[in-house]
């Protein structure tokens, strides 16, 4: 089952600049062109964006 992707325009929750999303998946991390912060695509329909969680030093298991 090919994961759903979406093209959409949204708004950066940090700097409120508009954000152009192309073929993004749910939970994908995108960077805001305006302020450069990492955003997470929480929902696809309608598209919603939130600050992506911090990158943690992660050794993996």
């Amino acid at each position: 089952m090919e994961l759903q992707t979406v093209d959409a325009d949204s708004e950066c929750p940090e700097c409120f600049e508009s954000v152009r999303l192309e073929a993004v998946m749910q939970h994908e991390i995108v960077q805001c062109a305006g302020c450069g912060i990492d955003l997470e695509v929480i929902e696809l329909d309608p598209v919603s964006l939130e600050l992506a969680p911090e990158e943690e030093e992660d050794w993996g298991e």
């Binding site: 998946m25 939970h27 991390i29 969680p53 943690e56 030093e57 050794w59 993996g60 298991e61």
Partner: protein
């Protein structure tokens, strides 16, 4: 052989036995048994990755591996995977080790890091990963760090004459079971117990300068104590982690952590050898030791 180990039987010894099926569990158990009978206080940590993959396939929930943004590969641990992980690590393999040791007359007691919160840390329920060229946030993950070790429970058992045989998972601060890295847990354990020696047994002679050429064994690596306190997780051991291939990288990070925690000697030795632990204590494998600096009182 670089040095023969004084039979400092009083000294605490932590052994991490890798999960590879190439390891001869019976031989290791026999060796640990003879050390224990000679009065050496030992804690054994074991893995089980390879067997977990097989059982996960048989149960129709094949393992998935994800690459974290910083490039480390780890097991995607959704709840179903965590339960299969527990069945193999805590059920099949932990009790296999305990049985092998009990049959050697050793008073072995098998526990996971969840029990009594022996390994406790933060659950990382969100992971940033790379998948097919995309950066993604992975949710509902049951992995965690090891930030605290219940040394009190271990001393209670060791004082009672028991040999603790430990395995992931660990516990989150909320008491949830979380998949933790066994190599790193062993390092935290050595620090908590003040064990001077931590032995990593795996299916290779030790750290190889030119992997996979087994003749390129690095016999000894000395590091100055203050070189260890750099910012990088492998501070002081950069040449070793550069040479180490994937799974060994984590063991080198574990070694760096254990040395920072006060261990004096980390040995990477061949778990397939005859009496692998004795051989390691007698100098076999790669010995990573702290060069006593000027301020270093005798350990």
């Amino acid at each position: 052989m670089a040095e023969t180990s004084p039979d400092n039987s009083g000294e605490q010894l932590v052994i991490k036995a890798g999960g590879g099926k190439a390891l001869d569990l019976e031989a290791i158990a026999a060796d640990v048994g003879s050390l224990w009978r000679a009065g050496r206080r030992v804690v054994l940590v074991h893995g089980g990755a390879e067997t977990t993959n097989e059982v996960a396939e048989q149960l129709g929930h094949p393992p998935q591996f994800v690459t974290s943004e910083s490039g480390y590969s780890s097991r995607r641990t959704d709840r179903r995977t965590l339960e299969i992980f527990e069945m193999v690590y805590c059920g099949l393999l932990n009790k296999r080790w305990v049985e092998l040791l009990q049959r050697q007359g050793v008073a072995a007691v098998g526990l996971s890091g969840l029990d009594g919160r022996l390994f406790e840390g933060r659950r990382k329920d969100k992971l940033r990963i790379r998948r097919g060229g995309r950066r993604m946030v992975l949710r509902d993950d049951w992995t965690g760090t090891v930030e605290k070790v219940n040394g009190e429970l271990l001393r209670l058992l060791l004082g009672g004459g028991y040999l603790p045989v430990l395995t992931p998972p660990g516990a989150s601060f909320d008491g949830e079971a979380v998949n933790v890295d066994g190599d790193r847990a062993a390092a935290a354990l050595a620090t908590a117990l003040g064990a001077p020696t931590l032995v990593y047994l795996s299916a290779t002679p030790g750290l190889l300068a030119d992997f996979p050429d087994e003749d390129s064994l690095i016999p000894r690596f000395e590091v100055a104590r203050d070189a260890l306190s750099g910012a990088a997780p492998d501070a002081g051991l950069e040449p070793l982690s550069a040479a180490a291939e994937d799974r060994m990288k984590k063991k080198v990070l574990g070694a760096a952590e254990a040395l920072r925690g006060g261990a004096g000697r980390i040995i990477f030795a061949d778990g397939r050898a005859e009496r692998p632990v004795r051989a390691a204590l007698d100098g076999a494998g790669t010995h990573v030791v702290v060069r006593p600096g000027p301020r270093e009182e005798a350990r």
